[in-house]
Amino acid sequence: NEDFSIENSVGLTCEFDGTTGLIQKIRRGNSEIQLSQNFYYYHGMKGNNSDFDSRASGAYIFRPNGTSPIPIAQKVKYEVYKGEHVTEVRQVFSEWVSQVIRLYDKADAVEFEWLVGPIPVGDHIGKEVVTRYSTDLSTNGTFYTDSNGREMLRRKRNKRPTWNYKVYEPVAGNYYPVNSRMIITEEEKQNKKRKTLILLNDRAQGGTSINDGELEVMIHRRLLFDDAFGVGEALNEEAYGTGLVTRGKHWIVFAGDTTGVPASIHRPLAQEIFMDRILAFRDSTPADEIYLSGA
């Protein structure tokens, strides 16, 4: 139950709480940030679709019933494998949520590979699963999401840049598309240095920052009622007779005390995620020595 840490050869260290098994800090060189991560779920609004303000959460609509998501587990079963190229912390949150946190030897980013599903609906309530990375950054309601990987758009909680936004949906109204990355950074200090946290994902998702210093991304949904926008069925995908299981990755980059948001860190990594290497396999033949050189 002692706290433990994992580190790589380029000065990136992750610290974990030994009792809960959850991550609690990332350190990069001399700079560090409190970082906790956990999975939660919102209850999907059941609605009755009779009139506009009682819409159900469904394929077209994200509408949680309540503003505080329910944590899936406060502590996890975990084990740590350490080796020459990668160290990984395996966590089991529940029967249907587990995750591997990986630190590759020369990596700039911490890899979070999650496995979620089948989302249980024995209580007849649809659920929308999110992951939250919470830090001690004072972000003053501001966060950044990308637009198709090209530019970063500045978002302000409960605000819109071009009209006087009235808050009807405190959570869903603050969700934005996250095609490749999401960033939070602390308000600029006198010395112009500030800490920045960058999240990169492997597919387009929805995300927000409901609390200061926090990045929240939705990773899976299973809903039980149609939202009356035309598809005529609930978003309740099944495989093998139970709900769909989804697996994906997030990469977390902690840019220590830097001036401005370091695009030089997240842009190359986002390209490598999007244009991943292609592996092809073939039988080995005696002539292989010739082709071991690159081509």
């Binding site: 249907w96 290497r277 073939r282």
Partner: protein, 239 residues
């Protein structure tokens, strides 16, 4: 190009807002996925042919006609650049794995000796990337362009649920550094299985384990509960 078009067309069809946003009916979504899957397999034949061509391993002329793209049509089509004219290449030489993310890949699980070709699609070099392959035994000799490559094997976790997940013989994941991959190039690694009977799964122990932490899962969330096919009572719009 015809082989590539088999993917280009369904990808174009998938620009429809229902496909992009996931607001299509389930059977339509399944059909979108099926067409893209057919297109991917068709494209892989093209990649396989290109890799054979790039690496000069084009199949011998007696390669079965089914594997050979009809030269006649190829040479006649004006769309093919000259250096592709008139040579025979095999489109079945390479295999691809779509389930690496759940540690399933027949070639790396079942073969004892194989070549893994890593293609870097970016027009710039990529450094510090790693190759992760599901394997059934943990000890392998890996040889790359600059000689032997050190590897690490990590045992795969036991499945938490008995829902059919990966159908695979993999017990471990083999990890090795791919080194510097130049832009738009193929880098080959030759893998040879090393049978070492002393090595047993038990040798790969975690350095820290807290497996006793009972995970507090509210009963209603247990998967057993959700096994029952729950057909929600919902107002189905008239057919």
């Amino acid at each position: 190009l015809d082989g590539v078009f088999k993917l280009a067309e369904p990808v174009a069809v998938n620009q429809h807002h229902d496909a992009v946003a996931g607001t299509a009916k389930q059977h339509v979504t399944n059909d979108y996925a099926l067409r893209i899957s057919i297109g991917i397999q068709s494209c892989e034949k093209v990649i396989s042919s290109a890799l054979s061509k790039i690496q000069g391993t084009q199949g011998a002329s007696e390669s079965p006609s089914s594997n050979r793209i009809d030269d006649e049509s190829l040479n006649n089509s004006s769309r093919v650049p000259n250096d592709f004219q008139g040579f025979q290449y095999r489109d079945d030489e390479y295999e691809f794995c779509h389930l690496l993310n759940i540690s399933a890949c027949d070639p790396s699980e079942l073969k004892s000796s194989l070549v893994v070709s890593v293609y870097n699609p970016l027009a710039r070099q990529v450094v510090n990337s790693y190759v992760r392959l599901p394997v059934s035994t943990p000890v392998w000799h890996v040889e790359g362009p600059h000689g032997d490559v050190s590897t690490q094997a990590i045992p795969l976790p036991e499945p938490v649920l008995d829902i059919p997940g990966r159908i695979s013989a993999a017990q471990y994941e083999l990890i090795f550094p791919a080194g510097v991959l130049s832009g738009l190039t193929v880098t080959n690694f030759k893998l040879t299985r090393v049978i070492d009977n002393e090595i047993v799964r038990g040798k790969f122990q975690p350095i820290i384990q807290n497996w006793e932490a009972a995970i507090d899962v509210p009963v209603v969330l247990s998967v057993e509960n959700s096994r029952r096919r729950f057909l929600p009572k919902m107002s189905l719009s008239p057919p």
